[in-house]
Every structure is written in C-alpha cells, then in structure tokens.
Amino acid sequence: MGWLRFVLDPPSVPSGVDKKPKTPSTGVYYDTEWSRSLPARLIRRATTVALMKPVIGFFGAPKVIGADRLKDVEGPVVFAANHHSHADTTVLLTTIPSHLRHNLAIAAGADYFFPNRLVGAASALFIGAIPIERQRLSRLSVANTMDAVAAGRNLLVFPEGGRSPDGWGAGHRPGAAFVAMKSDVPVVPVYIDGTGNILPKGKNWPKRSRCAVVFGSPLSPIDDEDARGFATRIESKVAELADEFANGWWQARRNAGSGSTPVLSGPEAGAWRRRWLLGPKPGGRRTTPGPKRWPRI
C-alpha cells in the first residue's frame, strides 16, 4: 500500500526553495464550477423532487401566492427574499416556478456553508449554493454571483445577510441590487412567511407548521437609481408582499398607495414586546384553560 501513501501524503519541500502559497479552497474561495455539470444538476433535481419536496410538504405545506406574476419571466433573474430559517432555501427550491427553479444558484454564507471541502461540496451539489461573504461585499463574492448569472443561472439571495434572530426583518444590504444592476437582470422580490416556526434559528430539528411564499412582479432599476436606492425599493416591495399575505392584496395596494405599508423590521421596542407583537405561534400549546389544579381557591 506504499503507492497509496505516496498518492495521499504531500511531498516534503526542500530548504532554500520558496514554498508555493497554498491556494485557499474553502469559504468564498470554494470553486463551484463542477456543480453546473449535467450529472450534478441531475442529482440536484432528483434530490429536490424525491426528497425536499415531500419533506417540505410534510413539515410546511407551503402556500404559494403570486406565481402567476412570473409566468412571462424567462430568466435569468435575481430572487431577493426575506430570511427567517434554513428552511427558507428548501421551501424556495420547491416552490419557485419550475421554468426558473431548475437553473437556480443560492448565494450562501461562505463561512457557514463552505467551512470545509466536504460541507462545501454538499452545499454546492444538493442546493446549488455558491459562496459569498455575508459581512461585506467582497470582489470575489460579487464575481461568484455574477459568474453564475452570466452563465444563465437564476440567483437566490437573502439581502438581510442572515436569518432573523427574532422573527422581524433586518435591513436589506445592497448586494442583490448591485449584482442585478451589474448583470442587467431584474430582481423578483419574495416574501416567505412561517418558516421561522418550522426551523427557528438555534434549533436543529424541524416541527410542523404552516408556511407561505409570495412572489412579486420583477423589478428593474429606474432613472438614476443606485444600488442602495434599488435595494431600498426591493425591501419595500418585500414589505408590500408581506402586507398582501397578512391583509389581502387590495388592502396592501391601498396601504402602498398611502405610504402606510407596515415595515418588516418591526417596532422599536424591547425583546419581549417585539415577540409579543408577532402574535401567537400557529399550532402552539393549548390556549384554552386546562383542568383546575389543586389547591382550589
């Protein structure tokens, strides 16, 4: 088995010779090109249909609203969705209309989804992830996402940069808007509701709860809008979709018309009030009084 050791062990480096710098291959440097090959795409499609769809159907039974707005959309597009849970990715992978879903790349946190080559490979293979840095808009992150779009793939981005810690939204960063403007593709705003109850941040095992996905009409930059301005507009559209889900389409239109769409970031208040204003969790514990306990007063 000497030949096996020869193959696996790296060679020693002689003195006086400059060591070739090690090219990083994890995190944002992970090369996902191979995941666009036909075998990889077939595995991804099979996993989505045979595994993810039934699992998400069992745990979330997502209600899909507004898919008809994407009927004429040919792609590539950038989907910009709010982010509550790891379940968001699988919910979208199974609800985005099929003519856009099967060529989808997910912009995923490099630190979380590509910490080593094994996890990176699984992320790229099974969910089509491409690594981006969450904390800053690095040149490599932008290059990774723009390469995917240039190759004709649709891109899913969570502009908040991470999952919501308390069920309310965080402000949108301009990355999705920037990539869309540079690639000259539209942005489809998406609102996801209820996934935070399926797999909240900090939990490792899902539980059954209803969820919903609301797709908006594609958006393009207007006039001299810059990336920040465009990102703000995308964020307000996601808020309108949230309003549409909560209060009905017509009320949402009227709220938008009068500038009174509820914001996704929630109230400026302490932690318990922010949780309180989210309302009761669906399918939670019994809310009616139970049997009387001792002592009886």
Partner: protein
C-alpha cells in the same frame, strides 16, 4: 414556453388539386380528415398567430397613463368617487385562456392606480347582459385570485343582474326609438372603466356597455330579426345594423350616462400552442411531420374510443395559450378604431369571388357553452351565426348557395345552463323555424317567463329569451342560403333545426348538387384558428 415562427405567415387561399392532402375538419369534440373535390375547391387558411407583446403588463400601464383622446387614468381618480369596473364575461375568449387572463392583468393594473388614488368605493361587475351568471371558479379565472378574494367576499365583485327591478335604469331613447338601459350602479358611477377582450371585430366599442350592462329592454333594440338581417355581416362594422344600433345607444350613454374609460385588448390566434400535442391542429396539413401525424392519429383514436362525456371534459378543460397583441385605453370610439385594426391584422384573409358551396368544420365550443354542452341550437349559431358571418364585403358563398357544416349535433342540452333552450327546441322549433314568425309568436312569452327569470337571477341559466337571439343570429344566413346540410349530425336534431342530415361529406356534396349543380365550386373555411374572409 412555446416558440412561434419568427415571421408569422399571412392567411391565404389554397386551390385544391390532386396533391392536396386530406383537410382537417373540426367535428365537435373530434376531428375528421376530408378530401375536397379537386379542381373546383379552395381552402381559406388563417394567418399564423401574430407575436404576443414582450411586456404585456408594461403595455397595459402605458395605455392607462397615455390613453387615446382621453385624460390619463390617474387624473380621473379621486378619493370619495364612485367607481365601477366592468369586464367581459365567460363568452370571451374562446377557448378560455391560460392564466393569467388578460382581464386579470388589466384589472390589477387599474386597481394599482385606484389604490394609489385612495378610491374606496369600487364595484367590479361581470357585464354579462342576458348571458348566464359566472361561477366562482370562472370569476376567479377571469379576474385572478387576488382581485376575487379582495372584492367578492364583501359583495363588491358580482355578476350583472339585468332582471333586478331596483338595479336597472333607462337612460333614454335614441332617435330610432331604441331604449338605452343600464345597470344602476354603473349608470350612477362617476366613472365606469370597461375591460374588454376583442376576439372578433363584432366585440367592443359601445357594444361593451350598451349591451353588456343592459337588460331585455335595451338589448331587444338590436337583438332582433330585422337588425340581424341587415347586418351583412355583423363582423363588418360598416355594414352592420347591429353596430349602428349599439353606436346610437352609445350616443345616449355619452349624453345621459356615466363617463366611460374603455380599455380594449386583442389576443393572437394561438389557440392550441406552437408546441405540444395539440399544436398539430394549427399546422397546414402538408407540413405535418411524422410526429404530428402520429400524434393526430393517436389523439383521434383515443377520442373516438371515449364516451362523449369524457371527450367533452377533456376539450372543455383546454386553456388556450393566447398572447396579448395590443392594448389601448381611453375614449370608446377612438380606442375601438385602433382595436379593430389589430383584429383585422390577425384575422383578415383576402379572397376573390364567391363559390356555390361553403364547408366548415364546427368546433366543440361557442360563446354560449363554455364549461357546458353544445346543443343543436348552438351548433346552428356557431355555423350560420359566427362562421358564416366572418366576412367583410360579401360572404364566401353566393346567394342561394349551400352551407355544409360538420358536427355531431347531439340532441343534448345542459339543464342548468340552457333550460329555455330545451323548451325552445322542443316546442317552438317543432312548430316553425321561421325567425320572423318565432319572434312574433313566442319571444315575449319566453322573455317574461317568471321561472326562466328566476333561474337567470339565482342559478347559472341563460335568460329565457336567449335561444331566440341565437336563432336570430343565424337569420341572415338562413335567408341568404338555399340549403344547409350537417354532416355526421344526429338526423332528428338536424331535421328539427330545419336542415338536412348527411352521413359523409361526399353525401352532402351530392345532396347539394340538387340545388347548385353537379360541378359546384366549394370554399372551405379552415379552422382552427378562426379567420375572417375579405371577399372582393
């Protein structure tokens, strides 16, 4: 998504020779391939479907903001105003189109502007005149789930009720003595926005509001034998008394009725798609590939093996992948002129001269049996009402000629949708088929029957008078032709209609030769999709 040919070819006239393959005929919920007589037959082929608009939603918004001969819609909307949106009912388009329906796109775009303007008092009405009420599913399909769920539960989206005595008003009378009647909510609104789909050149213009939101008092002004016989044809606006009557009523609406903001749309004729198993039906027979021929054979064999109920279910579930080709908004007549140009662009086929015989394969669907049964009266309407009248200038067949229609013509009626048709067929047509006599002796009784009125208002039934209008629709053709033959139809039903049954096309041509001679010339109107002959 299917891809159309890069440059859609216009319609044309094919002279049938020995090399001409058998021609596809619609035959209700099925098809036949027929050989037409060589050397004396021609086939009029429709133009290929025009390209749809790349950005229909953008075009709709542009039309609302830049209307024709009217102010931009936002400037017409003010908080506190009374707004009514009316839209074309289930009879358009045919077949029903795949979601999102054009009406959904337009109404959502309109409501976006209405919401921005802060208008609260909004009603949305299916302008069905004396047609049947639409079901919840049909309303949802037309306006979309968002609009339906926002308005219907609050009673703000509903079917027009022409027999509600509290809800109909007379606006006035034209100089010809024609009453103009309108839905009260619409009549008393500050603005009525009408959302139209123009499938053929008869639709739209003042007909939308003058007929769609009217009742028996207003509709009978032009839905009568005299008007139909002086509409030659009712698809040709310059030669149509139906058109003139509606436009006279429009003058009264202009002076005594609400302000109308008209939105008209046209769609292409992509009925069965450019790809997929049904696309073979839109292709020219000599261009059928081996795959097309195999698909057609399998489809026809399968259909023939099924029960009529299952065949009907399959066909009625088909949703056409129509694409919007134009949208214009603003002043009614200015909008309609532009719309008519687009309709003609898609439909008109130049044809020289007339022939002795016209043949047509009739499809499974007319405007009046969507999600329903095509009864014998509707077979007549489709053939002698619509197909015969799809011309400009002159009919494709000479006066005194023969029409041969291919359809199974089952003696079958939908008891919920067409109750008055049953009695019309059994009682009236058993007595006479003369439209003038029928109008004089029977129309009033059916129009004012309380039971039919009840079914129209509370069920999903066409108005009691509706089968009469269907009969009048064919009165121009009945007067013009000397004989009508139906191939493959139920002989009893065909004879009740006053026509002659034939088992095959050859038999029908043989029968026609008694009237037009043995060397009669033939024009076949190829369908699907529809066309309009521009006959010189």
């Amino acid at each position: 998504m299917s891809k159309p040919r890069s440059n859609p070819r216009p319609g044309f006239v094919l002279d049938v020779d020995r090399q001409t393959p058998p021609i596809l005929f619609h035959h209700g919920e099925g098809f036949r391939l027929e050989k037409l007589p060589v050397g004396r037959s021609r086939v009029i082929y429709p133009g290929e479907p025009l390209h749809g608009m790349d950005d229909p939603d953008g075009a709709i918004r542009d039309a609302l903001l830049n209307p024709i001969e009217d102010d931009p819609l936002p400037s017409l909307l003010t908080p506190g105003m009374k707004l009514t949106i009316a839209f074309d009912d289930i009879s358009l388009p045919l077949p029903p189109m795949a979601r999102p329906d054009v009406r959904q796109r337009v109404i959502e775009a309109v409501l976006d502007l209405v919401a921005e303007a802060g208008v609260d008092d909004v009603h949305i009405i299916a302008a069905l005149a004396l047609h049947r009420r639409m079901t919840e599913n049909e309303l949802r399909h037309a306006v979309g789930d968002r609009v339906y769920e926002a308005f219907a539960p609050h009673g703000l989206l509903y079917n027009h009720d022409a027999e509600d005595p509290e809800n109909m008003v007379i606006l006035g009378q034209t100089p010809h003595g024609e009453s103009v009647q309108m839905n009260r909510r619409a009549a008393e609104s500050d603005l009525v926005i009408y959302v139209n789909i123009n499938l053929v050149s008869m639709d739209g213009g003042w007909k939308s509001t003058a007929t769609g939101l009217s009742g028996y008092e207003g509709v009978k002004a032009h839905h009568n034998v005299h008007t139909m016989r002086h509409s030659k044809s009712f698809m040709d606006q310059d030669s149509s008394e139906l058109h003139r009557s509606n436009w006279r009523q429009g003058e009264i609406i202009k002076s005594h009725g609400p302000r109308i903001f008209q939105i008209e749309t046209t769609v292409n004729t992509n009925t069965f798609g450019h790809n997929g198993p049904m696309s073979v039906l839109q292709k020219r027979e000599w261009e059928w590939s081996i795959k097309d021929r195999a698909t057609f054979t399998a489809m026809n064999t399968g259909l023939n093996a099924m029960s009529s109920t299952n065949r009907r279910r399959i066909f009625q579930s088909w949703k056409a992948p129509y694409e919007m080709t134009s949208v214009q908004a603003g002043e009614v007549e200015a909008v309609h002129r532009r719309t008519t140009e687009m309709v003609y662009k898609q439909h008109l086929v130049p044809v020289e001269g007339q022939t002795d015989i016209v043949t047509m394969g009739l499809p499974y669907l007319s405007p009046y049996n969507v999600n329903s049964i095509m009864n014998p009266i509707l077979v007549m309407v489709q053939g002698l009402g619509y197909f015969f009248n799809l011309y400009r200038g002159r009919p494709v067949v000479r006066e005194g000629g023969v029409a041969i229609m291919s359809h199974p013509t089952p003696w079958e009626f939908h008891p919920v949708h067409h109750p008055s048709y049953i009695d019309f067929f059994e009682q009236v047509l058993a007595d006479t088929t003369d439209p003038v006599e029928i109008e004089q002796r029977y129309e009033k009784q059916f129009a004012e029957d309380e039971w039919y009125r009840h079914l129209y208002r509370t069920s999903n039934a066409y108005h009691g008078v509706h089968p009469f209008y269907m009969w009048y629709w064919g009165s121009h053709a009945m007067e013009y032709l000397s004989q009508v033959i139906i191939v493959g139809g139920d002989p009893r039903a065909v004879r009740r209609l006053g026509f002659k049954p034939a088992s095959t096309l050859n038999d029908a041509l043989e029968m026609a030769s008694d009237v037009v001679g043995s060397n009669a010339t033939v024009t076949h109107l190829h369908n699907p999709p529809i066309l309009m002959a521009d006959v010189s």
